[in-house]
Amino acid sequence: MKESQGTSGLILNEPLLWKKGKKGRSGFSMPRRDVVPSPADEVLTGDGPDLPDLSEVDVVRHYTRLSQWNFGLDTGMYPLGSCTMKYNPKINEKQAVLPGFAGAHPLLPAELSQGTLELMWRLERYLAEITGMDAATLQPAAGAQGELTGMLLIHAYHASRGSRRSKIIVPDTAHGTNPASAALCGFSSVPVQSNERGVISPEAVAAVMDEDTAGIMITNPNTLGLFEENIQEIARIVHTKGGLVYGDGANMNAVMGIVQMGKIGFDVMHLNLHKTFSTPHGGGGPGSGPVCVKDFLAPFLPVPRIVFNEGAYRLSEDLPQSIGRLHAFHGNFGVMIKAFCYIMSMGGEGLKRASQLAVLNANYIKDSLKESLHLPYDRPCMHECVFSDKLQEAEKVTTLDMAKRLMDYGFHPPTIYFPLVVHGAMMIEPTETESKEDIDRFIEALRAIAAEARDNPEMLKAAPVRPKVRRLDETAAARKPCLTG
């Protein structure tokens, strides 16, 4: 291949924070003391926290060096399947720190906070339109909390009809958060297997759906990157037995403007603003996991609700059937601003175009690599495609080895060993914001790695060699946990 993107440069070592600094230094401009000291009761006061004293320069160099050990989306292609690592627009960062937003107290009276309420009210409506639902709540702080909200809504719905159902159907391709969220709500998960086409068959659902089952959780498109083509029939089966259909919207990026989940049988679904709606993932959050519902579930939504009448916005707690509160205040408003700005910048046509290009990029990768890597489901995919390490088994090269080797080529590896239904899975989601040239380089790198697996497998087992550290001993880390310094 052409010259690899991955190279080595000067990387500086950096000690732990508390090994730096000196007592008496400070990186903080202490506000002027304009009141007299009032000594506090000495029984209550301690010695003060054991924190290091550093200068501003110490702090700035420390974190700048640390940042250089990280690979971010702005560094390069980050094709983590199901994570939707699309470009995070810079202008949205600026909007989120406008003093009127960043400085706003969450308990300001409504007449003093019309701007934030309007933004949230409009975002709820836009998300409802995109999903084909009737109402939305923005309170859940991340996808998993959105799932919990959905489960609580389903639980409350059944309770309002005087029934208490104990089970929920969860396909084997689901994210781990699905069964964990259901369990938090007291539901036991009933697994259904996907069929040979990689999707759920109506028969499999009909076989387990009964009147003690609260509903089904479906990720659509699913984690194999396939559209659940039987969704309408599955929804009919579940609804007939009085159950509800929950949609995990982690993969909504494939179908904006193409499928409205509310029109094909979903009753409630969550979205991840930090995936589909371009807000940065922050190295593990903050995210935001709004939940959209059909009309009949709206009375159960979390309080407070934003209400608009007579030209003004206000918050209402008057929702007697509500499941209650999920967040101390209104959810991750700072994240909502960025998602709102993204939708305003894209418009309906732009969002649809994004989904089309996300699907084009994934299919292009799938068809370009299927000679080099085993493709368990060889059919048109949505926004992501799943390969396995089957062709490399003879050389005892694993998905992990190939993922680590990708780092040396200057790419972030895809999601690996998920979904669980594919042995040695490698799940690639390029997103729409990768250009053809970058994708071609990625394809070329994986082809080169497949060739190395054949000709020089040891090289892959030794990978990566270019990052700051090599493979780390995770077993030792878990056996003797060292969690603070």
Partner: protein, 443 residues
């Protein structure tokens, strides 16, 4: 569209590789009955410059300082944030990375979170802190669920002086599991009444907030002694961690689990989120803990490095048997608080906390002289409860006309305290602002 790099030529050539005619053909696996037949009903796309105008207009309607003088705390605090913190946090190697599943190229996030865990544990006086939760409210709910797992008991007791919204979130999380929540009374001095606890031997946990919702510092050693006898775990929650710069931390006063909101540590209020759920416990309970943990280890060449660890507690491994469903947490906010604590430092946090305390004492004295009643006489940190001489509503409305927001009314949460307000003052409030408030209350 500037975020979409494809040219028409790219698209044609890529479609050819895939073997389809046009974009619509890419969606052939979606049954026609599942597709939308119309365009999305959304506003037309804005340019970068139009977007700026729109958000400015929305943001300008908000009552924020310096145009307004705001004496509101109640779980969301106004503290100065060094520009260096905001600047460093904007480094996109941090902000645009995912959860550090691939440690070799995520050492920056991993070391920074390991450092956060350490600083958080030291601040709270605990042995281990996790990589963060969503906010103080869900952290408390998860702490109670953790205590239920450890003790295998199904009943918990809460102080009524835990933030009312946190208690509401606890009810949401614990409701469907059939767990019972006992709410304790409070005393005339503004502290939790724990006298009823003796004899309750089936409690999984007793949770107390300190400083509590009225701003009062609780008597944690006394609570510890009583709770110990019941066999329940002692949980301490908080909304204002800066208080531990001056007052003793919960860990050294017997707490088993400490959790709360870290927004005060370098995170803007942002209308209530994102904040930072801080969560810490004793090492003996670490395997029952929710959330991510970063641990130290070595690489193949023996060099030190960091990884996510003890993942067998988590949903992606254990699925329905996981300790929690949490996946994405509030990592970047944890990073902000570590940067903030590093900037303020051990010496600085003591000075800053004292300054907050002194300002609140100054305001308390001034308001008392102006005829206000200070409802509770326990020591407070930077917020406290007052009763205005001429009633809450009149005073509040009159002050609002002067662009002063005189605290948060307590009546909705505590019907026994109508006409009471919770006032807060931090280092960002100057003496002249406090004098203005005192003057207006008196007049």
């Amino acid at each position: 569209m500037r975020y979409l790099p494809h040219t028409e030529e790219d698209i044609v050539s890529m479609l050819r590789t895939v073997g389809v005619e046009d974009m619509d053909d890419l969606f052939s696996s979606i049954p026609p009955s599942c597709r939308v037949g119309r365009a999305l009903d959304l506003p037309d796309a804005l340019t970068e410059w139009e977007l700026g105008t729109l958000t400015e207009e929305l943001a300008e309607t908000m009552a924020v300082s310096p145009a307004y003088r705001i004496f509101m705390g109640a779980g969301s605090y106004d503290h100065y944030i060094p520009e260096s913190v905001s600047y460093l946090l904007g480094r996109s190697e941090f902000s645009t990375a995912y959860t550090p599943y691939q440690p070799e190229i995520s050492q920056g996030t991993l070391q920074a979170i390991y450092e956060y865990q350490t600083l958080a544990a030291r601040l709270l006086g605990m042995e281990v802190a996790n990589a963060s939760m969503y906010d103080g409210a869900s952290a408390l709910a998860e702490a109670l669920l953790m205590a239920i797992r450890i003790t295998k008991r199904k009943r918990v007791a809460l102080s009524p002086l835990i933030h009312p919204h946190y208690r509401a979130v606890v009810r949401t999380y614990l409701g469907p599991g059939g767990y019972e929540i006992v709410e304790l009374p409070f005393l005339k001095d503004g502290r939790t009444d724990i006298s009823g606890l003796s004899g309750m031997d089936d409690l999984a946990a007793v949770a107390i907030q300190s400083p509590n919702f009225f701003g009062c510092v609780e008597d944690l050693p006394a609570a510890d002694e009583t709770i110990r006898k019941t066999g329940a775990l002692f949980l301490v929650s908080f909304t204002e961690p800066l208080a531990y710069g001056l007052f003793k931390n919960p860990g050294c006063q017997g707490a088993d689990i400490v959790c709360g909101e870290g927004q005060s540590l370098g995170i803007p209020r942002s209308f209530g989120g994102p904040g930072l759920g801080m969560f810490a416990c004793r090492m003996k309970h670490v395997r029952s803990m929710p959330g991510r943990l970063v641990g130290k280890t070595t690489d193949r060449d023996g060099r030190p490095g960091f990884v996510l660890t003890l993942a067998t507690r988590e949903q992606h491994i254990r699925r329905e048997k996981a300790n929690s469903n949490i996946c994405t947490n509030n990592s970047l906010c944890a990073l902000a608080s570590a940067m903030y604590l590093a900037s303020v430092g051990g010496t600085g946090i003591r000075d800053l906390a004292s300054l907050n305390y002194d300002k609140a004492e100054y305001l308390k004295r001034g308001l008392k002289e102006a005829g206000c009643r200070l409802t509770f006489d326990s020591p407070t940190f930077n917020e406290f409860v007052v009763e205005f001489p001429k009633g809450f509503k009149d005073t509040y409305t009159r002050l609002l006309e002067k662009r002063i927001v005189a605290g948060v009314p307590l009546g909705t949460w505590y019907p026994g305290l109508p006409d009471h307000a919770l006032l807060c003052v931090t280092e960002t409030v100057g003496r002249e602002d406090m004098d203005a408030l005192i003057r207006e209350v008196r007049s």
